[in-house]
Amino acid sequence: MAYTELIKNFNRIRDYMREFYVYGFKSRDGFTQKSARSYDDERRRLESWLGDYMQFRQTPAGKTVFLSVDSRLCRHNPLYKAWKTKSFTDGDITLHFILMDIVAQAKEALSVREIMEQTDAYLSGFPDPRLTDESTLRKKLREYVTEGILTTEKHGKSLYYKRTPDTACYDTDVLDFFSEVSCCGVIGSFLLDKADFINGPHRDHFTFKHHYITGAMDSEIVCQLLLAMQEKRGVTLITTGKNRDHISESRVVPLRIMISVQNGRQYLMAFTPGSNRIRSFRTDHILSVTPGEISGRFDELRETLNGMRPHMWGVSTQSRSGRRTEEVTFTVRYEEDEPYIHQRLEREKRCGTVERVDGCTSRFSASVYDASELIPWIRTFLCRITEIHFSNAALEAQFKEDIREMYRLYGLEGGESI
């Protein structure tokens, strides 16, 4: 098929965007799962959409292409552009603008016949006017009613269509801010496009630090999960493995979207009847969401999840040791002029307790489903950890061995204190 700038299916480009943005070290030959032609097309598309952010580097393995974005400097998530690339037919775009013009002029709701006649009148000025068939028009009208831009009235047995009245919207400051920090923020980006169309380009007044933009690629998946949760509906998920090497199907009851602002990952917490437990699914591993039946247990299951939260550091609901919960305790020592270390423990802990042992010593302890989830955080206190204990002995041994390995990496091997 000839190359086109627009696309029909988002999933394929989603994979390439992730490769170019998150990883960015593979050459053309490294994309073994897809054909070289497919790679060339997707790379060309991304270059067209995101040219300002595309970079190239020549390596011994070949030319590598990557997306380099400092999200603190760009005020709008550039990956949202990918959501503005849906392909359409010549008939779609012609009918769209004419149809919306017809309903904008109409003082009353119009029948399908009236809309058809007017459409033909609009097109009659062209030398070779496009023919509109009734079934295409009816399909488009139904689609726009579902989208909410047209409403219907029943006159006898016939449906009449009119434009949905305009609604107030927030100003561009609100849209600028929430399009970056709110779930499904790409919808805010669509609203900004609309505001700029009406009022002309606006000036933005916000920047964002620690801003992860990768979640944008999962917007449609997250949106479908939110819609299902609003209706307390089960869903069927098609998911892929970590290495994109296998595909699974799971019927679940979606309960909550868990968002990390420290690594940008988003997870679905869902009840899986097959294993009779609540577990997490990474949204970037979900390929599709199909709505299922309404679940009578939704409220009860969400309450169960709420009850689990005090033992969840991240999203894990099961320990590696097989125990229901694991205990972790560590003690840090700091100088008198470093009271912020205790404050750090207080503000960064997500569960558990912090106690002040003396003016220069504080202790954190928690009982969690999976103590391994705390390890990266505990390591941020390296240089002041005086004691540490995990009820999972293997984890404790691993933690200590990792520290010894770090000593070796930086030429500090040997057991003696320095």
């Binding site: 393995a61 400051d173 919808i187 669509f190 609203l191 620690h210 909550r256």
Partner: protein, 303 residues
């Protein structure tokens, strides 16, 4: 659904073209300028011939359009549902006293549907009326570029007063805090909104006397990464918000360079430490020493 041509760059560009064509016959140059501005790098190759070749029968050969009025589209249902969701976000009241009411449109999500699980607990107090008042005044001053007199309280509890020209607000999702970037008489810097105790409009207009200052000093760090325990993905996702370069140097070995603002160096040191032995900093040498120094101190703690 989100992935729809209704929100697409082509529809937006064509709407802009038709808006102009309703007003006056459109020249080709004008059409090209609009496409370049509203669509993508290669869009002109498709949009222009489709319109002028009448595949899309919206523009006549003389540059006029059969449309009677500029294109307009009401909000779609998903847009209304998303906007309705903002009402339950405490930050919306920084901008408006009363969130918009979308009648019987149910929100796309409620606070119960989402959980940010690793946000720091000492974020700004958005319910504080004084904070909201300051936020609105600062945002207005940024929009209209007038100076402010602000008083802040520092870590030791001392009050400092200064006149500043506000430029923009920065929000950190991790810290859940806003910072004001501003120009002062002798500096260019940031002020945490949570530390502002008083904020008023300057009565004197001395906009021109504010220092442009120096831009923030950039830094960069390079480390080697060993892809064990899924470290490659974890590290690259974690540092994804920085400008970075990654290259493969061996079967499971990678070299990553990250560019960061120098003011965030301490934070970057502890974030690198959080990955343990999976990453080893190799350059610059003073950064290597920052890590070594912490490990030496850790060794002295007896672990």
């Amino acid at each position: 659904m989100i992935f729809s041509e209704l929100y697409g760059a082509y529809y937006n560009a064509v709407a802009e073209i038709l808006k102009h064509a309703v007003d006056h016959p459109l020249e080709k140059n004008e059409l090209r300028r609009i496409v370049e501005k509203h669509a993508f790098g290669e869009s002109i190759l498709n949009v222009e011939p489709s319109l002028t070749g009448e595949k899309w029968q919206l523009l006549r050969p003389d540059g006029t359009t059969p449309l009677q009025s500029p294109p307009s589209l009401p909000l779609t249902l998903i847009q209304k549902r998303w906007l309705a969701s903002l009402a339950s976000d405490p930050r919306i009241r920084l901008f408006v006293e009363n969130p918009l009411d979308f009648g019987d449109v149910s929100p796309l999500f409620t606070p119960e549907d989402l959980c940010v699980f690793d946000r720091y607990a000492d974020g700004d107090d958005y319910a504080d009326p004084a904070y909201r008042r300051n936020f609105r005044l600062i945002l207005n001053a940024i929009r209209n570029q007038y100076p402010l007199r602000i008083a802040t309280v520092n870590r030791r509890g001392n009050i400092a007063r200064m006149d500043v020209l506000p430029k923009y607000l920065e929000y950190s999702e991790k810290d859940d805090k806003f910072r004001l970037f501003c120009l002062g008489h002798h500096f260019r810097g940031t002020v945490n909104l949570g530390r502002i105790t008083c904020c008023t409009r300057c009565t004197r207009n001395y906009r021109k006397s504010f220092s442009q200052g120096m831009p923030p000093e950039p830094g960069s760090v390079t480390f080697e990464l060993t892809d064990e325990r899924n470290a490659l993905e974890r590290v690259l996702l974690h540092f994804a918000h920085f400008e970075k370069q990654a290259e493969q140097t061996g079967e499971r070995r990678f070299r990553v360079t990250i560019r960061y603002a120098k003011e965030d160096e301490t934070e970057l040191v502890i974030r690198i430490l959080s990955f343990g032995p999976m990453i080893r900093v190799t350059a610059p040498s003073y950064f290597v020493n920052l890590i070594r120094e912490r490990l030496i101190r850790q060794k002295n703690c007896g672990l």
